[in-house]
Subunit: 340 residues, 2 copies
Amino acid sequence: MIVTIKDVAKKANVAPSTVSRVIANSPRISEKTKKKVREVMEELGYHPNFQARSLAAKSTQAIGVIMPNSAYYAFQNPFFPEVLRGISTSAHDNKYGIYLSTGSTEDEIYNEVTSMVLGRRVDGVILLYSRINDKTMNFLQSSNFPFVVVGRPDEHDERISYVDNDNIFITKQVTNYLIDLGHQNIAFVGGSTDFVVTVDRLNGYKLALKDAGISFKKEYMVFEDFIKENGRKAIESLMNLNDPPTALVTQDDLIAYEMISHLEDMGIRVPQDISIVSFNNLMLSEHSKPPLTSIDICIYQLGFEATKCLLEKISIPDTLPKRITIPTKFIERKSCEQKK
Amino acid sequence: MIVTIKDVAKKANVAPSTVSRVIANSPRISEKTKKKVREVMEELGYHPNFQARSLAAKSTQAIGVIMPNSAYYAFQNPFFPEVLRGISTSAHDNKYGIYLSTGSTEDEIYNEVTSMVLGRRVDGVILLYSRINDKTMNFLQSSNFPFVVVGRPDEHDERISYVDNDNIFITKQVTNYLIDLGHQNIAFVGGSTDFVVTVDRLNGYKLALKDAGISFKKEYMVFEDFIKENGRKAIESLMNLNDPPTALVTQDDLIAYEMISHLEDMGIRVPQDISIVSFNNLMLSEHSKPPLTSIDICIYQLGFEATKCLLEKISIPDTLPKRITIPTKFIERKSCEQKK
């Protein structure tokens, strides 16, 4: 059964026009009434069709950009300014402004996105992450509000448009590269398993090991936040194993720098004693000691294409959902060596 | 004579309520009427008092953040993500979102800001730059819309709130540091003289030279955009002088890195042949070769304090304007040496 505005109005004991105004977040409706109507909307499972609304309403000429955590942490990682550079360039080409989230927890982010959508602050949203079972993504999807994800959505839902790298494939490739150099003890030092990107890369790593007949060791997985502050803990636990790794697949250049620095403190040399490959190919990677072998995931392009895709969805609401895979580049430098 | 809504209405041949709706950018008014009324507003010099309006109107819970040029260029410079980190943290603490400009020219930025203000998209604006005779700043000032500048405004106007470093003082200090190391031929490699920060630093540099009895040489000034692509041109023109400099004061670590790299190509060693001091103390500066002596201008703090100041202005409109000076730190590393 499709729930309509009339059903909500009847149950909430208000006029249908009041429900419409609550959806539009009109200042003419009291907060008390808004609360009541929204509760009924939730209870009945009513979701306004924002895409249809957006056609009728005046465009806001703005898109929302949602980061996985607060800017305090996010902007310590050069990924976010770089993806924002791609987003802003495409937004600007189309005379769109950018509304940036500042939430620091999942709940805060959810509240910000619902308020962007219900308050008609933006015409569409870009999620800069894909989390397992993310309620913000679920809200956007069930509201039929235009959005695009940077990253592969957790659940296989063909209606969701996203832009991503082929993380399984490339992680399999870099793991193979280390195996070809003679390494068998290869550790996986990743981000949080809340994020699909970590899960995908872990699967690529496991596939490479399996194909090479190397058994997968649980103790070779170290999950830490992307933030480099946690690097020391990660590397110490690994190097203190009875059978320590001779190669690392790290998920982020920032973590890699930190590890190289801690390894140096421990008297372990990169690449002579341990090889490291990483992801993101940050500007620093060329200048670090040793220069870092890294996967360039084309961050700017991820942001640019996600925005292009979103703006297409906004202007032509019946555009089919798209999955865009951005190719990566393997940048071989000096952080890996043949196993002795 | 104070121009009122009634004057505008009479001249435009519409009702005063129509003028109010145009100011609020109501969708109920046709674009044609809006255009006509806005032309009359401009002609008569009418500026709605947005500060008073904001008290009456519902808060947007958003602030506008305006960059000096497109994100395409701005986000190549770590200054912007870092200042945005400070802004977002303070905005988030106060449950505010951020509306980011994407304009790439002065005119585009002006249009974005007027549309943010007239369209009531934001409660206040942070300008991330201070340009000489900037029409965007003039618009904000004459509209009496809450705004704060990161950087010292060009004209001495006590009503403008801003957050800045004491650029004259610190540049005098670093120039003195080079003079104390025995350098007399000191070049100034700065950003665009469109920006007040460049002018202030140039003045600090000149003051130090004057106090030391060193005559100022025009050919020792190289003005280039902050973007590092222009570094080669800057350094070549300097080093080809008959009396080339033995020390450089550069305005930005990114320019400094680039120069060090070009100097290396030219067979000139830092610090043995030429000393370099710079500004911003980017994360890379510790790890560059040689580690860079740089002024930490506390970018995060500049953004954080500007936002705090703006939110105070928004919530208490009759707050007195403030000038906040953020202290800097001189980080001495290995890019300067005693002149031989």
